[in-house]
């Protein structure tokens, strides 16, 4: 069911972040998030991603500016009120404690339980619902400190879900996860859009940014740049992100690659598409600029596939050399 009127879930106004002494991390940042959006926050280490997320969750106070949640400045809310509107999972949450999955997730019900923390049937239902949403129902009675990183991250999301807040803030939920787990976690978060929940998460994982995020927030040189991922791509915001570190954005592969200075040209020939693709990758990784074989005056690699077996023939002037593996070809090229 599509909503006609979109409400501003959270907005930040002229936010300055930093610590007492020294330069601010973020200057005059403003942004708005609509209900049901997924926001990916990216930026280099130490640029203040965590500080920004922690400020949104009122764990830190800004130097200047305001965070407005559902139309109310966060500082005007009581702990209990805030806990019913916003949940936060940071790195390291739940690693130490000897709790079962159920016990940890049930702590998410605290904003709703009485003085003793007694769970009613409705609370238990909510906990089980959150566990099944994140695919962790079978782990109900497992100890949290025995889970894998991916499982623990999903339990933390379940805990945030049990808190039943419209806004979830997660600091690097995919850190230390393998690729299937990363995709799992982000897909769980993405599915929350169907419940009209808003998710803000920080990440270094650009695959997820481009596949799932409605908005990207980039922190670059103390500024917050916001927009849809494609729009930011169009404006060249990603190109600037790591340029001072000698890394450029490759828009075709939607990835960042190391800038190499002297790029020798090399020709690539051959009929087999897969063979050409992977050979080109290997040559680019080694620092060559790969071109078509027609233009003369440079080394040429030809990929041949005979009876399902690949061969690489390197022609340099009048000498030719044959290789049976890509690894040998690359070793030869880097040595010479």
């Amino acid at each position: 069911m599509a909503r006609i009127i979109q409400h501003k879930k959270i907005s930040i106004e002229n936010l300055w972040l930093g610590y007492e002494q020294g330069v601010p991390l973020l200057e005059s940042a403003s942004a708005e998030v609509n209900e049901g959006e997924m926001i990916a926050l990216v930026g280099r280490n130490g640029t203040g991603k965590s500080t920004l997320l922690r400020t949104l969750a009122r764990l830190q106070t800004p130097m200047q500016g305001r965070v407005i949640l559902n139309g109310t400045p966060v500082e005007a809310l009581s702990n209990r009120e805030l806990a019913r509107l916003l949940s936060f999972a940071g790195p390291g949450t739940g690693t130490m404690e000897d709790l079962t999955v159920f016990e940890l997730v049930s702590l998410g019900r605290h904003p709703y339980t009485n003085w003793w923390g007694a769970l009613r049937d409705a609370d238990r239902e909510k906990i089980n619902e959150s566990l099944s949403f994140t695919g962790m129902l079978d782990f109900r009675d497992a100890r949290v400190n025995r889970l894998s990183d991916g499982e623990r991250q999903r339990v933390l999301i379940a805990m945030a879900l049990a808190q039943d807040t419209d806004l979830l803030i997660l600091d690097e939920p995919t850190a230390f996860l393998d690729i299937p787990n990363r995709i799992d976690v982000v897909e769980v978060l993405h599915r929350l859009r169907s419940q009209n929940r808003t998710v803000i998460f920080s990440t270094h994982d650009f695959d997820n940014v481009f596949s799932y995020a409605d908005q990207v927030w980039i922190i670059d040189e103390r500024r917050l740049i916001t927009g849809s991922p494609e729009e930011l791509g169009l404006e060249g915001a990603f190109d600037a992100l790591f340029s001072d570190a000698g890394v450029r954005f490759d828009r075709h592969g939607l990835r960042f690659v190391r800038e190499t200075d002297h790029r020798e040209q090399i020709g690539l020939a051959g009929e087999d598409r897969d063979g050409r693709f992977w050979t080109a990758r290997a040559l680019e990784r080694t620092g060559y600029r790969v071109e078509d074989a027609e233009e003369g005056g440079k080394p040429v690699v030809e990929v041949r596939k005979v009876k399902g077996v690949y061969r690489w023939i390197l022609t340099l002037g009048s000498t030719t050399k044959e290789f049976t593996t890509l690894y040998e070809l690359i070793s030869h090229l880097t040595r010479s």
């Binding site: 806990a83 949450t93 130490m96 404690e97 709790l99 702590l107 605290h110 003085w115 003793w116 808190q163």
Partner: protein, 338 residues
């Protein structure tokens, strides 16, 4: 399933406690027939009046004091370990027992060896209580000002060491008789509380335990760290004040009346966690209270050296029981310990 197991564990502990209580009452320098013991407990008439006096005037108050001390020290240990997220925290980390000891030292060492008789006895209790209360007051002031819980822990330990240093100086200048009474006080005793003082102890311990019950939800959330507790809607500062007040009342009163009793507060929460496999305060708190009583009464039985007419200092016995537990915790380095 888990709850049934917990009920069974708790019932078995209660049964064990009952057996230990009867055993503790039966033992002592004067041999009393078991029939007279049960008779007195059941309130039957016609018991040897001498025996009746020993049982109801000495042994029962002693066991009741032990039950209160076991419960109070274990609960404050549990609270300290949880709020500081440190397995080696105990009721005395905040300097409460040092405060009480300073109070007792001022009376015992400061007034010379005059501290005998009922007035002096009350003087010691009052001074020890004031000492513990003064520490608690300073602590609460610190809590309101200082944000980091680790800073509070370090300040508590330093404060405690500072007070001990002052006590050492007082001991150095104290005369021999005064020194001996102070040393005896610091060895702890469950036998000096009876009649009206037992009533007063009971009246002070109960609110301390009630505050502990009120802190259960907050402590459960605080086991994830204070920051996360705040995000779960807990008022962290209020919980801290609740917990410190509870621990000060519990540990302070017991130390004032019984002298310092070591290691119960550190060891019992670990034993309880290990046996119940629980870390949820709602289950851990009642189990810790009963376990504290069990260990304390058991220590009292051992201190009477069954079969002999000597009584060993209770503080030494609880330390000998508690130390191996603490060593086990440190060596096993189990994350699950806290």
């Amino acid at each position: 399933m888990r709850n049934r197991k917990y009920t069974i564990q708790l019932s078995s502990l209660l049964l064990l406690l009952l057996v230990l209580i009867i055993l503790d009452i039966s033992l002592g320098t004067v041999r009393i027939p078991f029939r007279d013991i049960l008779g007195t407990l059941a309130g039957k008439p016609g018991i040897d009046s001498q025996h009746h006096l020993i049982i109801s005037g000495f042994r029962i108050p002693r066991v009741l004091t032990g039950l209160l001390a076991g419960a109070a020290l274990s609960v404050s240990g549990l609270q300290m370990q949880t709020i500081f997220r440190n397995p080696l925290a105990g009721p005395y980390v905040l300097g409460i027992s040092s405060g009480a000891s300073l109070g007792a030292a001022i009376i015992l060492l400061g007034t010379g060896a005059m501290a005998t008789g009922i007035l002096a006895r009350w003087g010691i209790v009052a001074a020890a209580w004031l000492g513990a209360a003064a520490v608690m007051f300073i602590l609460l002031l610190v809590t309101i000002r200082i944000r980091s819980i680790m800073t509070i822990l370090i300040l508590g330990i330093m404060f405690s060491s500072g007070l001990s240093a002052i006590i050492s100086i007082m001991q150095y200048f104290g005369n021999a008789a005064a020194l001996k009474s102070f040393v005896i006080w610091s060895l702890g005793s469950l036998g000096d509380v009876s009649g009206s003082s037992l009533t007063i102890l009971l009246i002070t311990i109960l609110p301390g335990l009630m505050l502990a019950v009120l802190s259960v939800k907050g402590l459960n959330a605080m086991s994830l760290g204070e920051e996360n507790a705040g995000l779960l809607g807990i008022n962290v500062r209020a919980t801290r004040i609740l917990v410190f007040a509870s621990t000060s009342i519990l540990a302070g009163s017991i130390t004032a009346f019984c002298g310092p009793i070591g290691f119960i507060g550190i060891a019992v929460p670990h034993i309880t966690r290990f046996l119940t496999g629980r870390s949820d305060m709602r289950y851990l708190l009642p189990a810790t209270i009963i376990m504290g009583m069990v260990i304390m009464v058991a220590s009292d039985i051992i201190s009477q050296v069954p079969g002999s007419d000597r009584i060993l200092p209770i503080n030494a016995i609880t330390s000998l029981i508690g130390i191996p537990v603490v060593i086990w915790v440190v060596i096993s380095k189990r994350k699950s310990m806290i």
